[in-house]
């Protein structure tokens, strides 16, 4: 009888239990004590089944992404920050001004509440930085062993200014390709954390919000055709997707692509190619020649684009393929990855 006499088991104060996903009192406590104080805004506070927000007439952009990173906290960021920046960036590279996010949490039984608090605080801070509001959400709890602590899904809505229409399909031969900085820092940071490898003190995730950079770029080069953020699959996947979508060829120059020596060293060690490694604060833009210099200047004047450079151009040769001019002056394909890159035996 004693077990039944205790309505809230003791661990509920420190750990996520299945009851936190029940929709009952424990769920309400999560909302009242963790989510509301962190994300507070009028739309959320109504706690209706949906958020109701005002939007001006025009087009909106919608995007969604799920975040399953391990470890949850890593040098340069955490899963909370990623879940905001990632969706904000997906909206921003479409030329949209990010406004509202939803947040869905799948929590694993046994997750320390303190960990959830830290992640939620990080999301709130990231949202303020991006000037977006988290206006609706959901929480589910899965049994211990069925998740990696916490999975987060965010969906976002952004406003597309009149006259803006960006798409990979718009990319044309002759476009110059701009990249905002060095590759592979997020992927290599996560890999080295996961494997417990010490690869040098300056290795940290590049997780960053790109909405300001995208807006500045669009203001300086209103004729730009497309932007892409570089996440899983790295630069190579983004370029291949654009080449296929626009039925064009893409030519890039190995020498022009910035990679820090820490990332290069780690890639050599693991047998990985930095062109395929994940980023969380990098983007490319396809800009017509006439506006290319203005776009580069705009990128470089922003802290997240200080190291921006042209990495290549779009061509009508070899449509749907990405080629790379090597440091030796020869040419090779940059293929789409079939699966994850796996470290080589030797």
């Amino acid at each position: 009888m004693t077990a039944l006499a205790c309505p809230l088991p003791i661990p509920a104060d420190q750990l996520i239990v299945l009851g936190h996903g029940s929709g009952g009192r424990l769920s309400a406590r999560l909302t009242d004590e963790i989510f509301l104080p962190a994300f507070r805004n009028p739309a959320l506070e109504r706690l209706d089944d949906q958020a109701s927000v005002e939007v001006p007439a025009g087009r909106i952009a919608i995007s969604t992404d799920s975040y399953v990173v391990k470890p949850l906290f890593f040098p340069g960021g955490d899963i909370g920050e990623l879940s905001v920046y990632g969706t904000v960036n997906d909206l921003a590279v479409g030329g949209a001004i990010p406004k509202y996010l939803s947040a869905g949490f799948i929590l694993e039984e046994g997750l320390p509440l303190e960990t959830l608090r830290r992640i939620v605080a990080s999301m709130a801070q990231a949202a303020r930085r991006c000037a977006v509001e988290i206006v609706t959400g959901d929480t589910k709890v899965v049994e211990r062993g069925s998740g990696d602590g916490i999975f987060i899904n965010t969906a976002g809505v952004g406003l597309i200014p009149a006259g803006v229409s960006l798409s990979a399909a718009n990319v044309r031969p002759g476009d110059r390709i701009l990249l905002n900085g060095s590759l592979g820092e997020h992927g290599i940071t996560i890999l080295s954390q996961r494997e417990g490898l010490e690869l040098g003190g300056d290795l940290r995730s590049d997780a960053a919000p790109l909405h300001e950079l995208c807006a500045a770029l669009l203001a300086a080069a209103p004729g730009l055709h497309a932007m892409r953020d570089l996440t899983r699959g790295g630069l190579s996947s983004a370029l291949n997707e654009v080449a296929r979508s626009a039925q064009v060829g893409v030519e890039i120059h190995e020498r022009a692509i910035p990679v820090t020596s820490a990332v290069r060293g780690a890639c050599e060690l693991f047998g990985l190619d930095p062109l395929y490694v994940a980023n969380e604060g990098k983007m490319i833009a396809f800009v017509p020649e006439a506006q290319a210099d203005a776009a580069l200047a705009a990128m470089r004047s922003h802290p997240f684009g200080a190291d921006a450079r042209f990495i290549g151009a779009v061509t009508d040769k070899h449509p749907r393929m990405v080629t790379l001019r090597t440091t030796l002056g020869t040419e090779r394909i940059v293929d789409m990855l079939a699966q994850d890159q796996l470290p080589r035996i030797c």
Partner: protein, 375 residues
């Protein structure tokens, strides 16, 4: 990046290409033995930089590629055995056996762990005393010593739940098989630098004498390979057939005696089947009887399970340089890295996979014209 950029330097590469153009008066046919060298060669397009007529044949030295289907099937069987944790290097996990690969076995519930060293697998065994930990160790003389060291440590530290599923192969017997085959076209060899860093040069001197063929021990960066090619051309033009060492920053004449001792203590020479080349006598290494308790083949009573390779694969013609990968009718159509028909498409270091990854923008005619290869 120091110790790397200088070996990928365009100016230095061009100096070597100029030197090669002066030296090479004949259309020499050379083979780079190691898959790592093939990967660099195709990735950087070094074969495109050679004087007209000179040809590179891509050798059998991709350890993942030549691992026979049977042993991969055995690894998958072990991984699916309750109570067993199977650990291996990342690129072994998606190499297809006769029906599936280890990543798919993992998806079916097999306990498969990717590790960076056999010593990590030994640590897993220590941490999981109630489970059997099997390290699936493949490769040439390069990866054999650390695998041997793991068995040696398991024996010394009394770790009963660790074992090695070994499929090691030796380079010299495969080279003899290729050089001695009827219709051999190879006139000079770039020997595998990292293998020689372990075993030294003696075995290669025997091959140079036996087949009157020049051999240069080469590194793995573009400038290494170009320098090795120049050195081979010089020998060929001067009618010499010696062993020279281009990769002096890693390779000593006597190799690495400590690694050789470890290897000899734990492993012994045996007959071994090579994917794409078939059975080659005395071309492999297996765990010695005194370490039988740590030999997964014995511990788990793994029975022979012969498997036929797909008949359409022409890998033996590729490995002997009679065909280039794009000349295979199945290349890129019925044979891709996701669904390889045979050895050279399996790993990124295999010749077919390297062409698939880096060269699909060149047409077959371009390649044939470039190489002067037979159709």
């Amino acid at each position: 990046m120091k110790h790397l950029d200088e070996y990928r330097d365009e100016k230095l590469a061009n100096v070597l290409v100029d030197r090669l153009t002066q030296v090479a008066q004949h259309p020499w046919v050379l083979m780079e033995v190691c898959g790592g060298q093939t990967h660099t060669l195709v990735r950087y397009g070094i074969d495109d930089m050679l004087p007209a007529g000179m040809e590179m044949i891509h050798g059998p030295g991709c350890p993942v590629c030549v691992t026979p289907l049977e042993i991969i099937d055995k690894a998958i069987t072990l991984a699916l055995t309750p109570g067993v944790i199977l650990a291996s290097y990342g690129d072994m996990l998606r190499v297809p056996g006769s029906t599936t690969d280890l990543l798919h076995a993992k998806a079916q519930g097999a306990e498969v762990r990717m590790v960076y060293s056999p010593l990590d697998a030994l640590k897993l065994a220590r941490e999981n005393p109630t489970r059997e930990v099997v390290f699936f160790g493949i490769g040439f003389e390069t990866t054999a010593p650390p695998n041997a060291a793991a068995v040696w440590q398991a024996a010394r530290q009394g770790i009963p739940n660790f074992s090695l599923l070994a499929s090691h192969v030796l380079v010299p017997p495969a080279l003899r098989a290729l050089l001695g085959a009827p219709g051999n076209r190879v006139q000079g060899l770039i020997a595998p630098g990292h293998v020689c860093a372990i075993v030294g040069l003696e075995q290669y001197e025997e091959i140079a004498r036996e087949f009157q063929i020049p051999i240069v021990v080469g590194g793995f960066e573009p400038v290494d390979l170009l320098e090795a090619i120049v050195m081979l051309a010089e020998q060929l033009e001067q009618g010499r057939a010696e062993v020279e060492n281009q990769y002096t920053r890693s390779v000593r004449v006597t190799g690495n005696p400590a690694a050789q001792r470890m290897l000899a203590d734990v492993l012994e020479v045996c007959d071994r089947k090579w994917r794409g080349l078939g059975e080659i006598p005395l071309s492999g290494l297996k765990v010695r009887d005194k370490y039988a308790a740590w030999d997964a083949e014995i511990k788990f009573h793994l029975a022979p399970n012969p498997v036929e390779e797909p008949a359409e694969c022409i890998s033996s013609l590729i490995l002997q340089g009679h065909r280039k990968p794009p000349q295979c009718p199945a290349f890129g159509i019925r044979c891709t890295p996701e669904r390889p028909l045979g050895a050279p498409m399996v790993s990124s270091e295999g010749a077919c996979a390297a062409y698939y990854q880096y060269r699909r923008h060149q047409s077959e005619d371009d390649l044939v014209a470039l190489k002067g290869g037979s159709r």
